[in-house]
């Protein structure tokens, strides 16, 4: 008894003291007549903090209230809940997963023609536009391909990385025969090389195939069956095991840094970690080899920053976006994240290994289905990943995967 009573009393006392201290810190009006501008991000704090600090220094009247949620599901749901109740931040992130809903619901301001948008690349702005109106400011893009260890390949007598898919399979077999695991690519999500191969097929057919599929003029099979069959050769020829459906990106990077695999599918986001884990590796990026020898990449414009349509601080929000798109901020962002920025007045400094990726961005040789689809992205994505995993396990054929996507589109 005495213990219980004592613990209750202690807890209550502690709570009362803490309530006092917590109360002190929560003056929401902000000190010294500053305007509070709330910013809901999905970049982590470490990335955004230098930018926010610099902005606040230049604009002493504005205080940025930063909050974050991990992408994608948590971010989307938190933003959704707040928007529908009218408590969302002044500035937030627009992404493929919520673009349609944000625009249709009238939650984001039209940014077309604003001075700060002048600096943005046309491609990035189009990615966050609906019916010719821009709703997000995106300052960078990414492209992902195949990362290989030059020394390991040289040991196997390979100096030139293949551009044709058949040569790539042959290279894998050669490495395998020499006792090296040739290639890993995570299939817990959409495999990057499938995105690249489908993008290549889309370009070969003259582009815009997704629009035709969604307009009912074509089927998914017209675009997907070929690339899926090509990708599936990795398994039918035995150079990659079905283990990849249970391997996360981090595990694959670990295998690579420890020299247990010669090549992996990777993106720019893997480079900083790789440099820390294994500074001595001789890394080279290459596009995904394709049937006709023109390498292609997986890639997209990064999510954009949007302004809440109901913001009370429009002027400040625009000032913030102006800063984020400025030469100074973009340079800083590039330095912090090694992101491949695409604004007109900054030449991004990227790790030497990422130069091929940057080149691919300039040439437009990249594709990501989730971005190319105009709607039902998430439902299709879930179905696609599940079906591809079944295909890898030999329980579905490439045509079945495409047919399942058609069914999913029809029922949505």
């Amino acid at each position: 008894m005495s213990l219980l009573r004592r613990s209750v009393a202690t807890l209550a006392a502690a709570a009362a003291v803490l309530a006092g201290t917590a109360g002190c810190g929560s003056g929401s009006e902000g000190g010294g007549g500053k305007t509070k501008l709330s910013f809901f991000s999905w970049e982590n704090e470490q990335t955004m903090k230098p930018l926010i600090d610099a902005f606040e220094k230049q604009n002493p009247g504005i205080d940025i209230e930063f909050s974050t949620a991990p992408p994608v599901a948590e971010y989307i749901s938190t933003l959704q809940t707040r928007l529908v109740s009218g408590t969302a931040a002044d500035v937030f992130v627009i992404a493929a997963e919520n673009k349609t809903n944000l625009v249709q619901g009238g939650f984001v301001k039209d940014l077309t023609g604003k001075p700060f948008m002048a600096n943005m690349s046309k491609f990035n702005t189009e990615a966050w536009s609906v019916d010719g109106k821009a709703y997000g400011m995106s300052i960078s893009s990414w492209s992902a391909g195949i990362l290989y260890n030059k020394d390991v390949l040289a040991k196997a007598g390979v100096t030139e990385f293949p551009t044709k898919w058949d040569d790539f399979i042959a290279l894998c077999q050669k490495l395998k025969a020499a006792g090296t695991t040739p290639y890993y690519e995570s299939a817990t999500g959409l495999p990057l090389s499938i995105a690249a191969l489908v993008g290549h097929e889309n370009a070969r057919q003259g582009g815009g195939v997704d629009a035709q599929i969604f307009a009912g003029q074509k089927k998914f099979g017209d675009l997907w069956t070929g690339p899926l069959t090509t990708y599936n050769q990795l398994f039918t020829s035995g150079v990659m095991t079905k283990d990849v459906v249970g391997l996360k990106g981090e595990q694959i990077v670990d295998e690579f840094t420890n020299g247990r695999v010669a090549m992996i599918a990777a993106g720019p986001w893997d480079v900083p970690t790789l440099r820390q884990k294994a500074p001595d590796l001789n890394l080279v990026f290459a596009g995904v080899p394709t049937p006709d020898g023109k390498p292609f990449w997986a890639g997209a414009a990064s999510p954009g920053w949007a302004i809440n349509a109901k913001t009370q601080h429009e002027k400040e929000a625009e000032a913030f976006l102006t800063y984020l798109g400025s030469k100074e901020a973009v340079t800083l962002f590039n330095k912090e994240t090694a992101a491949m920025t695409t604004t007109s007045d900054v030449t991004p400094v990227v790790d030497k290994v990422l130069e091929p990726n940057l080149q691919a961005l300039k040439e437009g040789a990249f594709y990501l289905p989730q971005i190319a689809w105009p709607r039902v992205q998430d439902a299709l994505n879930t179905e696609m990943v599940a079906q591809i995993q079944l295909m890898i396990q030999g329980q579905a054929k490439p045509e079945d995967v495409a047919a399942a996507l058609d069914n999913r589109l029809k029922s949505s």
């Binding site: 008894m1 213990l3 219980l4 209750v8 807890l11 209550a12 502690a14 709570a15 803490l18 309530a19 201290t21 917590a22 810190g25 929560s26 929401s28 709330s38 809901f40 999905w42 970049e43 982590n44 704090e45 470490q46 990335t47 903090k49 209230e65 930063f66 909050s67 974050t68 949620a69 991990p70 992408p71 948590e74 749901s77 938190t78 959704q80 809940t81 707040r82 529908v84 109740s85 009218g86 408590t87 931040a89 990414w142 981090e250 990077v253 670990d254 840094t257 420890n258 993106g267 986001w269 893997d270 900083p272 970690t273 820390q276 884990k277 294994a278 500074p279 990064s302 999510p303």
Partner: protein, 273 residues
């Protein structure tokens, strides 16, 4: 009760079993003292030198103290409230089995089955109406939902006790409040501590609720700081693991302190059945 002798074989077996169960924790803790390079090369090996940069970096970049105080405040108040509400309901349900209470019992089971995601938006709207969004008190209010969990465990426990104890007190002329305070609470101490510890773990580690309902930096809880390491394309695993360890330490200490009190319950002979 016969005083048991300590068995060395049992001791050995249990310590070995605990070691196996504890391997994942070893993995987490040991890797916070290594560089990324070491982690990647040999995840299970002990660190080669005392590497504290992960901790230094985390303490420099994160407002740990403010978040810690917020978390303690929310956890402590919520736990007290839910234990009181839950035990009161369990007690009333045990002694008064009328129609209202039987219906209430069924309703409470149903409440237990509601998946939280299904009511997220309606609950958020209620909090907006009450002007409790983005406040620690609002979080506490949400956590009182845990009263129903407490009620379940406590009523199950009460049913395992001989009911004659309460009857005897009643005949002696004690009122409901007196019986609750003087007899029920001391008797159910083991389960109160078990449930309290468990709910503490839940609130302390809960991410979804504060993530949705708290936006001001000065009201964030510790777990929100942990998840700040999760970014768009990659996760800062060293920071994530280090922050996780920092968040875990207080609850581990709390558990070790509290669990000693589970043991002494009725063995001291407060009840002769």
């Amino acid at each position: 009760m016969r005083k048991q002798r300590s068995s060395p074989i049992l001791s050995l077996v249990m310590i070995l079993a605990a070691a196996v169960v504890g391997v994942p924790f070893y993995y987490i803790v040991v890797n916070t003292f290594k560089t990324q390079r070491e982690t990647s090369a040999s995840p299970l090996a002990p660190p080669t030198s005392l590497y504290l940069d992960n901790y230094v970096r985390v303490f420099e970049n994160t407002p740990i103290l403010q978040s810690f105080l917020n978390t303690v405040y929310v956890t402590a108040v919520s736990i007290v409230i839910m234990l009181v509400i839950g035990s009161m309901a369990a007690y009333a349900m045990l002694l008064r089995t009328n129609l209202i209470n039987r219906v209430a019992g069924v309703l409470l089971v149903i409440a237990f089955l509601v998946p939280g995601q299904a009511t997220l938006i309606p609950v958020y709207r209620i909090l907006v109406e009450l002007q409790l969004v983005d406040s620690l008190e609002g979080l506490i209010m949400l956590y009182t939902a845990g009263s129903i969990f407490c009620y379940f465990l406590i009523q199950g426990y009460l049913r395992s006790l001989p009911i004659s104890i309460f009857e005897a007190a009643r005949i002696d002329g004690a009122g409901p409040w007196q019986i609750y305070w003087r007899i029920v609470l001391p008797l159910i101490r083991p389960i109160l501590i078990t449930v309290g510890v468990f709910q503490t773990m839940w609130i302390w580690n809960d991410f979804i609720t504060p993530n949705v309902f708290i936006s001001s930096p000065d009201k964030q809880t510790l777990v929100l700081q942990v998840y700040k390491a999760v970014g768009e394309y990659s996760v800062d695993w060293p920071a994530f693991m280090t922050l996780s360890v920092i968040v875990l330490i207080p609850v581990v200490i709390f558990f070790i302190v509290m669990q000693r009190h589970i043991v002494n319950g009725l063995l001291q002979g407060s009840v002769k059945g």
